[in-house]
């Protein structure tokens, strides 16, 4: 479930190398065509699709904006403050922002949007991000109060990082009825022109947009007149479109990169995955995986560089900790204390644990995504005397099995843009919803609780959580993959962002496109 959405999100969000292409003449106009693999609805409260969320963000704006160094800047809110106990946040809104239909934005719109997002009837897959919010109150047109259930250090992160908490237009929502999501009115730099079901989504530039966050190149209207997002699920068709120039921007597969780089009219950008995918999970509720020596042995048996070379054709890096180096809060110490390839040590540890004569285990493998990966790992395990019997499981089964503890060793993982994923994935209270390794570790819980409570020392606690997770070896992270995006050279002046970010919005904030 995670993989598809998160990979797309990852592709959207991550673009390496901070550099600006030479400034082109600032010409307005042109159409930029994106290939997207899927789309569901612009009602992002209920969307399950990374592309849809990316498009919706171009139609809206959020209270705060986040830059590449994870600083938060004013966007629709000019300033904000938080009470001492962290239970109340007050945002002061701009008074000059208008919806696409001309109506002025007020704090009431935010209250409505947050209330709907959190309502159980909405059943929003995003609501869990904001569980800590109790309710929102509009003090006046430009003052928004957000009351919390508990102090939540990542509030600004979740308000800024996805566009989910953008203001909806309540009257428009009522008017659109069940067409809402195919129709949309927001406050963003682009206006929705048309959703052609299953076919494409077309946006046109909002000439009135004048409230970009201060750190972006261009705070005014974007330059490119039309954006067309065409739904093309088949990679070979995307490739054909890039080749003929009918597609200006598309995520592409690693295996096609070498060929695309031979084409003069394309630039291939590289971005890193954020999170921990894939990783082997060990079932703590089953012997012998409750024995730390066995878990460490399995970790030492993995030649991660070999896996990068074989599976990713070299495009990627070994990963030793539970979050990737591309996430804020990453602790470099994991590379030192992590389990490097050491088959001798793996055999020793197994012998100590009483498996000198070998160990047989069931290895559940997500198919078809990780088939080859699992076969190579099976060989590596074999080298240290572990017989891994691969059982291929489909995406629909993986999660049920994981949560029910119906496995020995399993390929799983997550995409995530922030370190709170550690709490969500590993905290004991999460068993049944997540926590697939079924670790019930009170020391880990104490550390994770502190990442949410002791905000002043949050960085330290996040480091501590990473250290503890590596030491206990509940999982064996494998590698961090790289995503690729091909852009037609007709597009000029876009930002090649480092870690995170940006979404398409910041990506071509100041970009122009040459007409044919």
């Amino acid at each position: 479930m995670y993989k598809k959405t998160l990979l797309t999100l990852g592709i959207l969000l991550l673009i390496t190398l901070l550099s600006l292409s030479p400034l082109a003449a600032q010409e307005e106009g042109g159409t930029m065509t994106f290939a997207i693999s899927s789309f569901d609805t612009l009602d992002i409260h209920v969307s399950g699709d990374g592309n849809a969320m990316g498009i919706a963000w171009l139609l809206g704006a959020t209270l705060v904006a986040r830059d590449n160094e994870v600083n938060y800047h004013p966007w629709l809110a000019t300033s904000w403050e938080t009470s001492e106990d962290g239970m109340l946040w007050t945002f002061h809104l701009r008074d000059d922002v208008t919806f696409h239909d001309g109506r002025s934005l007020t704090a009431e719109d935010f209250v409505w949007s947050i209330t709907r997002l959190l309502a159980p009837e909405t059943a929003s897959p995003q609501s869990g991000r904001l569980r800590s919010i109790s309710h929102a109150v509009a003090v006046d047109d430009t003052t928004l109060e957000v009351h919390m259930n508990d102090p939540f250090p990542l509030l600004l992160e979740h308000l800024s990082n996805t566009g989910v908490v953008q203001p909806y237009h309540p009257e428009f929502y009522e008017e659109a009825g069940d067409q809402f999501g195919r129709e949309f009115v927001g406050v963003g730099p682009y206006v929705l022109e048309e959703v052609a079901t299953g076919e494409s989504v077309t946006l046109v530039r909002n000439p009135d947009y004048n409230w970009g966050p201060p750190f972006v190149m261009n705070q005014g209207p974007y330059h490119i007149e039309r954006l067309e997002f065409v739904i093309i699920p088949e990679p070979s068709t995307v490739l054909a479109g890039l080749e003929t120039g009918e597609i200006d921007y598309a995520a592409v597969q690693a295996s096609d990169v070498a060929y695309l780089r031979t084409l003069d009219h394309l630039t291939v950008l590289e971005g890193s995955f954020q999170g921990m995918l894939p990783a082997l999970h060990f079932n703590m509720s089953k012997a012998p995986f409750d024995d730390i020596r066995v878990r460490q042995a399995l970790n030492h048996a993995l030649d991660r560089q070999l896996l990068v070379d074989v599976i990713l054709e070299g495009h990627g890096r070994p990963q030793y900790g539970p979050i990737s180096s591309t996430i804020g809060g990453y602790w470099e110490g994991v590379e030192e204390i992590g389990y490097h390839y050491d088959p001798e040590r793996a055999r020793e540890l197994l012998a100590e644990a009483g498996f000198a004569d070998g160990l047989e285990l069931e290895f559940k493998c997500l198919t078809p995504t990780f088939n080859t990966l699992c076969e190579v790992i099976q060989q590596l395990f074999g080298d240290v005397g572990i017989t891994a019997n691969i059982v291929l499981v489909d995406a629909s089964v993986v999660f049920g099995d994981a949560l029910a503890g119906n496995y020995d060793v399993m390929t799983l993982g997550y995409g995530a843009s922030e370190s709170d994923i550690l709490y969500r994935w590993f905290h004991t209270s999460r068993m049944g919803a997540l926590n697939p390794s079924r670790a019930a570790d009170s020391e880990l819980d104490r550390i994770l609780d502190n990442t949410r409570k002791d905000i002043a020392n949050r960085d330290m606690w996040v480091n501590e959580a990473q250290r503890h997770l590596v030491e206990q070896a509940y999982v064996a992270p494998i590698y961090r993959s790289v995503n690729f995006v091909a852009v037609n050279n007709r597009v000029q002046g876009y930002l090649e962002n480092p870690a995170n970010l940006a979404t398409w919005a910041a990506f071509f904030n100041d970009a122009t496109i040459a007409s044919e």
Partner: protein, 307 residues
């Protein structure tokens, strides 16, 4: 004739109810908790319990089936897990595009398949016969997405005659996907027509027709083809499923916003509400197609009608 039609149509009803029951049961045994699926990465155990209650997932199976059936009869297939659109609307929006593709492909397949079959059976050149049948064998054997990708590369990328990214719109958008989808069925029909024509070409009543001085054209169409058609119609009916299955790949390769592509994306997201609706609609259209075949039998062969 009317009685015949009504009787046949009546028998379709229990089949449809059976289909709906099977579809429903199938998805009850599909692994994964829909509430967990909907709430995703950020789900909490309390949130999941709350959602299960809202969706009525804790009710007994029979009650949920009746609810599903009552909805389906009124054309309400529920709302998709992701996006929360009425599934029926999502299907109806995509139906015309798939219908257009399937109908064009079927027409192409019948026209070319049957003509090639007749040519092959009646030609005096063994070489031409063998050559054409070799091509037909290739057409049956090659996977349609392979043919699709090749055609797209040749005509879209290399020659630039059509858009390389497919889509819908005019005839130019239709020709490649329809051709691709038609190949396998056309090839099957060509082989079948050939063997059926060869079977009856030496029959007594054909010799009689010739002997009484009938024009060769009339012999072919009135005596040979009319008898061969029964088998051809049967095969078309049976291939309706192949046609629907084919749209899944073809619409994906040519980025056509139809039901096939919708199926693929629904399965990819594991949106069981969508998949369930699609399976039901596909199954119902299969039943409908076979009903039409049944009726055609009666039309082609009066003996069937009165038995």
């Amino acid at each position: 004739m009317l009685l015949f039609i009504l009787r046949r149509a009546f028998f379709a009803i229990p089949v449809l109810i059976g289909v709906s029951l099977l579809t429903f049961i199938m998805f009850q045994f599909a692994p994964g908790d829909p509430a967990q699926l909907i709430l995703g990465n950020f789900a909490t155990p309390e949130g999941i319990a709350e959602q299960r209650a809202i969706m009525g997932l804790d009710d007994p199976l029979w009650l949920r089936y009746l609810r599903f059936l009552a909805g389906a009869v009124r054309g309400d297939l529920g709302k998709s897990y992701f996006g929360r659109q009425p599934v029926m609307d999502e299907i109806l929006a995509r139906l015309p595009s798939t219908f257009e593709l399937a109908l064009s492909a079927l027409t192409l397949a019948v026209v070319f398949g049957v003509s090639i079959g007749i040519f092959s059976a009646t030609t005096r050149s063994r070489l031409a016969d063998r050559g054409v049948m070799l091509l037909a064998l290739l057409g049956i054997s090659l996977p349609n997405y392979f043919i699709g990708i090749q055609l797209n590369y040749i005509f879209g990328v290399r020659l630039g005659w059509v858009s390389a990214i497919g889509g819908v719109g005019d005839f130019k958008h239709l020709i490649l996907p329809a051709t691709t989808l038609a190949v396998a069925i056309g090839a099957t029909l060509a082989r079948l027509t050939r063997s059926n024509v060869l079977e009856v070409i030496h029959a007594d009543y054909v010799r009689t027709a010739r002997a009484k001085g009938l024009e060769e054209r009339l012999v072919l169409w009135r005596h040979i083809m009319r008898n061969a058609l029964i088998n051809i119609v049967t095969v078309i009916g049976l291939n309706f499923g192949v046609l629907l299955g084919g749209t899944v790949f073809i619409e994906s390769v040519f980025a056509r916003p139809g039901l096939g592509l919708f199926t693929l994306s629904a399965i990819g997201k594991r949106d069981y509400a969508q998949v369930q609706g699609i399976v039901l609609v596909f199954a119902a259209s299969f039943v409908f197609a076979n009903l039409i075949v049944d009726l055609l039998y009666g039309f082609l062969d009066p003996r069937i009608r009165y038995s």
